[in-house]
């Protein structure tokens, strides 16, 4: 089975997020006054092969622990769904 895993890596709530501050200021400047508390994180999407959702989830969690997130300042969240091959696969850029 192939799954699409989406991993969101976000800064822990107590950690300073300069990026988020700038984006918020930018939005306010553009007149989006209704926005507060902007936090910017990473979104990693990947295709993962595995036997079952639970085993894939364990593996992806393991990837997060070992490589994808920095436990000192970041949290992570995983979303999984069976992969449907809809999206065009990434192609090499035209030479």
């Amino acid at each position: 089975m192939r799954y699409t895993a989406e991993v969101v890596i976000s800064l822990k709530p107590v950690v300073n997020d300069p990026q988020g501050l700038t984006v918020r200021a930018g939005l306010h400047q553009l007149g989006f006054a209704e926005v507060s508390e902007v936090r910017v994180g990473k979104h990693i999407s990947m295709e993962v092969d595995g036997d079952s959702e639970s085993s894939v989830r364990r593996r992806v969690a393991d990837m997060c622990e070992k490589l994808l997130r920095n436990p000192v300042i970041e949290d992570y969240r995983i979303e999984l769904r069976p992969s449907v091959d809809l999206s065009p696969t990434p192609t090499a850029p035209p030479a």
Binding site: L11, K12, V14, D17, P18, A25, N70, P71, V72
Partner: protein, 738 residues
Amino acid sequence: MTAAVPVSDATLAEVALTRGEYELACRGLGRVPTEVELGVIGAMWSEHCGYKTSKPLLARLPVSGARVLQGPGENAGAVDIGGGLACVFKIESHNHPSAIEPYQGAATGVGGILRDVFTMGARPVALLDSLRFGPFDEPAQRHLLDGVVAGIGGYGNCIGVPTVGGEIYFDESYRHNCLVNAMCVGVIEQSKLTRAAAAGPGNLVLLVGADTGRDGIHGATFASVELNEASSERRPAVQVGNPFLEKCLMEVCVTLAGDPRIVAMQDLGAAGLTSSSAELAHRGGCGIEMDVSRISRRERGMTPYEVMLSESQERMLLVVRPQDAASVQVEFDRWDLHSDVIGTVTDTGRLVVSDGGAVVCDLPLDLLIDDVPLRHPEALRPAGLDEALSVDPFAMTPPWSMGETLLRLIGSPNIGSRRSIFRRYDHQVGDDTVVLPGGDAALLRVRGTAGAIALTTDGNARYAALDPRRGAAIAVCEAARNVVAVGATPVAVTNCLNFGNPEKPEVFWQLSEAVEGMREACLALGVPVVSGNVSLYNDTEGVSIDPTTVIGMVGHLEDLERRCAAGFGQDGDSVLLVGPVGMDLGGSEYQRLAHGVNAGPRPTLDLDLERRVQSAVLEMIAAGLLSSCHDLAEGGLAVALAESCILGGRGAQLSERLFALGAPVVQAGLLFGESQSRFLASSAATGVGAVRAIARRHDVDVRELGTTGGDRVTVIDVFDLALIELARAHAAALMPAR
């Protein structure tokens, strides 16, 4: 006052005080401290802020000289560089945070040292980084290196201050304790130098820059204890920096330098508001009163304790006259920086903190600063040292031919090209970098004068592991040699003492020996120490790093036209060895590579000879006699030769037969030995006579070794290598498959 806290061992451990120190504080205070007071005392009495172990040792350093405008005691030191200008500089460590979070740890280290310089009003013009990691072939170490380099670049590149120099060593000793030392250099008109001494009771205290969050609470005490398994629990002690905000802060502070509205400026570093406010008031012989409820927060529900000890980055304290506060705040508004009036200067000699109305801390500044309980640990020379020193390096047969040895050395992680590192740093912004990284000292032109400043950091800890005193003295000499090699006169020193846990007698012995060695060399060369930093407790599970004294040096070159480069400048020049022929193999990189040991007699050092050689070389360069000059360091004569060839893009043939004589190990000693007080220079054949005359006057040896030119690097009857082959090995040293 809030109620006194019953103090448990756990609480004392959190604020890093011993029970004895706690009792001392109670006695000094005449009562039991409140919770906030305990946190304040713990921070101020930590090694990091209070220097309780190193203070008596540091007092031995020479700190004055004709060009010193500001010695230790302020945020950074300052020296006269002519034209009414001052050069302001300091080095600082961020070892512990970098070990835990390499990118942010290193980045905020850069942010911190930049603030120390622009707090004095000076515009930062250069950064240098001195790094130590475990063995380069280990992926985990490369990962650390990568994160640290990205972090230094991430901050420095963004703020627009060039990173022009530094050094990297890889050694087993740093496997669990990497070292990240950053030096910042600024320039300012002398009349605008801004001090961090509060004055004028009734004046207002402004906190400007970033909001205060729960960042790095106990960072100061964290740097004052050993790392252990449980350190990960302290992880929030790592802060995330915002170089963009610091850039804005820097622009305002630099603009305000010399402005009569500014009474004092002080950055917030270790222990945040606590140490900055206490030091600001104490330096001025005043008191200070603050209301933490007036401080802008990033998070809800912060206690006064957290606000006082937060190490949120990019913040500054300013003291202004009441009538000027509003107009000063406008300057910060212009850069979208908000500023809070948080308190006033008093004449009480006390640090008083309230939260709205309630006083939560009321401490005498003397108790916090003058009465830091000094520790006088026992000093003990390590037992194994004599054994290591008595090893005979000449009893070990070289495993490779001399040519192969040179190729291996020039391509080794401690000697090979650092280009893959420094090209990740913007080293040109500001358009003043005349000598780019890759040579000896970096050379920066000083606008408004005909001159330049030369900058370097040095600190080979292999010699220091064998003899901390000699090692520290060599670090000073080597830094001076790098400065001299570009034609500049050494002016002053900043230093970072990176050591293990000083409560271990062996470590305290190393520390006191190192300070002594630094003292001797600085005195001999006439370079005072104007600033510095101490990083102790670089231990993991009881194992300490090798004693690592990093020297940052500033030199001055009167006339930029009279500079010298490290690469051979033209074909047909004479290749000259200035200084003694030596063969000190103990502690050398050759020994590490060929035999995997660090043992034997460390290089000899004659400080008077060192001084004479440096004076002679400076005179030769000033007279325009040298077309290149490079100091001899790791890898000795053969490596210096290869480097001058690679940098100059031309080969050299040494016809001197000395190197072909004797057993292979003797050849190795002559070619790769790291004897001190030497330069490899080149000069037009017609200039050699004049070079000799200068050398003779300084009682220094000069030996003509051969000639530059061609595309091979040859030592007659010893090796004959293609320059391209050496250049390739050199370039590939730090370029592993990613």
